[in-house]
């Protein structure tokens, strides 16, 4: 790990102390949750090149399974674990038939998946509580320790995120990461080296689903209330935007993208009705002026400073 990264993590750990207010910490917590889901998306979209608009659906599965498990009396972490397993299973069910599809066709299939999950959450009322959702979910906790404040949540979520980043980094630097990128760049060539590209894509999607479910499950324990509207297509698009904005295929980019797009709408709140317009315009502007994401722009700036 490079020194500036260490500094970054250390600063992040101090953030609640610097922010002080509940609102700011809570926004920061949501950013961490989003970052987890985006980090997962990066496996399948950033590395393996497969468009995935189903990420919010996986998060929804994770959130509901966690919530149901915890409400049924399972320890929180066990419910969360169950959620990861269910989401992984769902990713196989989605991926096996659809990962052979290309570009727009896959995009459509994943959008469809997200819609289906959303509709099931909405209408399978006896289990999911329908549109009024599930309430009074037990909070995040392990053993005696229970997350009480937004700041405590930040530290727990940050630790989980750090682990997620570590795992993502290990995958990227292993044969798996190379295989994912190879599959995205030239699938036929990859399969002619002996790679089972379908399996590689499946693993990428499964990792994505597990990360999303982790994000969703922690969301359920953090907000302690889940409803279908949080896991619809809008959220899927938002997560996708975060990935692109940060810089597809870059772990740091995922974190930055999630942070920017969680904070930006909040920062623009004072514009009232105009803030959504400005938000859209902001995204357009960022895409126009930072085509390779924030990370790419930073890299270019660094190079220029380094050269000049």
């Amino acid at each position: 790990m490079r020194p500036w990264m260490l500094i970054g993590w250390a600063l992040a750990a101090c953030l609640p102390l610097l922010l002080g207010s509940g609102y700011a910490v809570q926004v920061a917590d949501l950013a961490l949750l989003n970052a987890l889901a985006v980090l997962g998306l990066n496996f399948v979209t950033g590395y393996a090149g497969q468009v995935n608009f189903g990420q919010a659906g996986f998060a929804g599965i994770g959130a509901y399974v966690t919530a149901l498990g915890a409400l049924a009396g399972l320890p929180f972490w066990l419910a969360l674990l169950a959620a990861l397993v269910v989401a992984a299973g769902a990713s196989l069910a989605l991926g096996l038939p659809t990962l052979r599809l290309r570009s727009f066709y896959l995009a459509m299939a994943t959008i469809g998946f997200g819609e289906i999950v959303h509709l099931v959450l909405l209408h399978w009322e006896s289990v999911t509580g329908g549109s009024s959702g599930l309430r009074q979910i037990p909070p995040i906790g392990i053993g005696r320790f229970v997350v009480g404040t937004d700041a405590q949540a930040w530290w727990v979520l940050l630790a989980v995120l750090a682990l997620a980043v570590l795992v993502a980094g290990r995958v990227r630097r292993s044969w798996l990461g190379r295989a994912m990128i190879a599959t995205a760049d030239a699938e036929i060539a990859a399969s002619l080296t002996g790679l089972d590209t379908l399996r590689v894509k499946l693993v990428a999607l499964m990792l994505a689903a597990v990360y999303a479910a982790l994000s969703g499950g922690l969301y359920a324990g953090y907000v302690r209330y889940v409803s279908p509207d949080q896991f619809g297509n809008q959220q899927a698009v938002l997560l996708f935007s975060m990935l692109v904005l940060g810089g597809t295929g870059s772990i740091g980019g995922c974190l930055i993208g999630a942070a920017v797009l969680t904070v930006l709408p909040e920062a623009l709140r004072f514009l009232h009705a105009w803030y959504m317009v400005l938000y859209g315009a902001g995204v357009v502007a960022i895409v126009l002026f930072m085509p390779d994401g924030v990370v790419g722009a930073a890299r270019r700036l660094g190079r220029r400073l380094g050269v000049g």
Binding site: S174, D185, G194, L195
Partner: protein
Amino acid sequence: MSLLVARGLVKGFGGVRALDGVDLEVAEGSISAVIGPNGSGKTTLLNVLSGAYRADAGSIMFAGADMAGRPPLQFARQGLARSFQNIRLFTRLSVLDNARVGAMGGHGPSLAAVLLRLAAHRTAEAMATRRARAALDQVGLGGLADAPAGSLPYAQQRLLELARAVAGRPRLLLLDEPAAGMNMTEAMALMDIVRRLRDGGITVLLVEHNMRLVMQVSDHLTVLDFGRRIAAGGPDEIRRDPAVIAAYLGPGHGEGGAPDA
């Protein structure tokens, strides 16, 4: 000993019969070539032989196994590697990583091994790196290991394709126009590499239009025209074959790939 035996291969696309009953044998340890006019089915033949296309009819025996109808990755796992007429590199990966993908092929350790950095992961990575570096050295790209593959000039991209194929230690290497876009001097250097690979135990089957090069390097040639084999034999035989001259070489072709200045 024949490493590869194909019999009666047929492949059609709509109205076009790109392969029309082609027989081919490749002797272990040889450099063989397939030549023929444009559109005669050479690339299609390589595609069928590497599993990228499925033949409509015919049989393929490779290293003692019946391969017809199997997916490409099984051809690869059986010990076959190839390069492409249109370059297909993993452009976002570094030069070394391209070769490492080739070296690892389908034999990567499990996800758990990767995440926990188990011994299986470490030895596999070390092996892949070793083989990849060796392959890069063999084609002369050793110095560029860390460059992004997408930034290489055309000829070096071709060399990298070769290195990626070689890194997997294949038994049979299929090369589709490896010298395209190279001048004679560069092409000759490439052929030296190919010969050394053969000496290192890799059987080579290549498609190439540069006659000077093909005639110098090949032990055996197969000539296609309209999807059929019109001749087969050693370089001297082929050079004098009237059917080959009429269909492919053109009159006045002794050595070079074109009329000499």
